[in-house]
C-alpha cells in the first residue's frame, strides 16, 4: 500500500464521519487530485482482492469504510459489539427515587429531582428496570412507576427488602419523620 493510501486508510478509520475529497486533500496537500483518486482506488481494490472484512463506500458527503454488510449481521447476532453500558447519573437518581417511593408518578419524581425526567423514564422503561404499575387517583390519573424483577436481578438482590433502609444510609436521613414524609408527598 503506498504511503498516501496508508494515510487515507488511517484517516477513514479514525474519523467519526465520512471524508470528502477536500478532507483528504488536507491530509496530502500539494498532491494532484488524480493522485488522491488513485489512492482511493488502490484501497478499494485492495479490500476486494484481499477479501477484507470492510469496504470503501461512497456516501453522500464523501467516502467511508464500512463493515461488509454480509458480515455485519453475523457480528450483530453474536452480541459482542455493544458493551453493557452504565446508567447515567440522571437515570440512577431517577431509579433511586422510584426504588424507594414506588409506586410514584412522574410529577412526584420531578418534584424531588427538580428536573424533567421524561427522557430518563423512557430509557429506564426501555431497559425494563422500571414499569408502569398503575394509575394514581385524582387529576389526570397520572401513571405510576415501580421497579421490575429485572432490576433486582441486575442488583443481585432477591427482594426490595434487601435494599438498605433510608435511615441506614449515611447522611441526613436520621430523621424518621421526615423520611416517612418523604415517602408521602
Amino acid at each position: 500500500m503506498n504511503p498516501i493510501a496508508q494515510l487515507f486508510e488511517a484517516a477513514f478509520f479514525a474519523a467519526a464521519h465520512p471524508l470528502s475529497l477536500e478532507d483528504l486533500g488536507r491530509l496530502a496537500p500539494d498532491r494532484p487530485r488524480e493522485e488522491l483518486e488513485a489512492a482511493l482506488e488502490e484501497l478499494r481494490r485492495h479490500y476486494e482482492e484481499h477479501r477484507h472484512g470492510f469496504e470503501l463506500v461512497e456516501v453522500g458527503e464523501g467516502f467511508q469504510l464500512l463493515t461488509r454488510r454480509d458480515l455485519a449481521e453475523t457480528i450483530t447476532e453474536a452480541h459482542i459489539v455493544h458493551r453493557p453500558r452504565k446508567l447515567s447519573r440522571a437515570a440512577l437518581e431517577t431509579l433511586a427515587v422510584i426504588a424507594y417511593r414506588q409506586p410514584v408518578s412522574r410529577a412526584d419524581i420531578e418534584e424531588i429531582r427538580g428536573v424533567s425526567v421524561e427522557g430518563v423514564l423512557r430509557s429506564l422503561l426501555d431497559r425494563e428496570v422500571i414499569a408502569v404499575v398503575g394509575r394514581a387517583e385524582g387529576l389526570g390519573r397520572p401513571l405510576l412507576y415501580g421497579t421490575t424483577p429485572q432490576l433486582l436481578e441486575l442488583l443481585g438482590i432477591r427482594s426490595l427488602e434487601e435494599l438498605p433502609r433510608l435511615e441506614e444510609l449515611s447522611v441526613a436521613l436520621r430523621m424518621p419523620t421526615e423520611a416517612a414524609e418523604l415517602g408521602e408527598t
Partner: protein
Amino acid sequence: MTAPPTNSADQTPFVVRLDAFSGPLDLLLHLIREQEVDIYDIPIAAIADQFLEAIDALGLNEAADYLEMAAHLLRIKIQLLLPRPFDEEGWEDPRAELVRRLLEYEQVREVADWLAQQSSQHAGRFPRGWFADPPELPPRPITLSLAELLVAVEELVESLPEPVLHRVVPRPLDVEGATRRIEALLEERERLTLLDAIGEATSVADVLSVLIAVLELARLGRIRLAQRKTFGSVTIRREPDRTAV
C-alpha cells in the same frame, strides 16, 4: 517539577503560580527541594515559615487543605521545641509521620508522571471513530450495581434542600409581568415557542404565570397559538391585526 523558577532578585522568593501545585504536599516538597535539605532531617521551623509565606503569597490561605498542613507544621515545630526526655529511647521524632507521607506522595507523583506519559503515548493511536447506530437491536445492555444505586440515593438526599420535606412556599403569580415579557419578545420576533416564552423561569409559579399570560393573550386575540402535532412544541405568533387592538 511543574513549579516555575523563583525570582531570586525579589525579596519574596515565592513567585509561583497557584495552579503549579496540586496540593500542600506538592508545595512542601517543592520548598524542601528548593532548600536542598535532607528529607529525613527537615528543618521544620524554617520550612514551616516558608510554607506560611508561600500560601500567603499564593493566595492559598483560604484553601482548607493548605491551612491544615500549615497548622500541622506548626504543631511539629512546637513539639520539637519541647524538652526531650533524658533517655532518647522513648522519644519519637515528631517529623517521622510527615516524612513518611512526603515520600509516599513522591511515589504517587512518579506514578502520575508515568501514567501521563503512557496515556499521551497511547493517545497517538486512534480507535475507529465511527459507529453505526445498532440497527433494530434491543437497547444496549446496562450494568448496574447496588453500590451505584445507593450512591445515587445518597447524593439525591444530600442535594435536597433542607428540610427534606415537600415545602409549599407561597409565591404570587405574576401574570402581568409575564404578559409584558411575551409582548416584548413579540416586538422583536415574528414568533416564539412556548419554551422561549417560559425562558429561564425556574419556579412552578413562574411557569404558571407564563402559561396563564399566554392563554389570556390568546383569548384576547392578541396572539395565535399553534401546535403541529400532539406533544409538539407550541408556537406563539402575533395576530396580524395586533396593532389595531
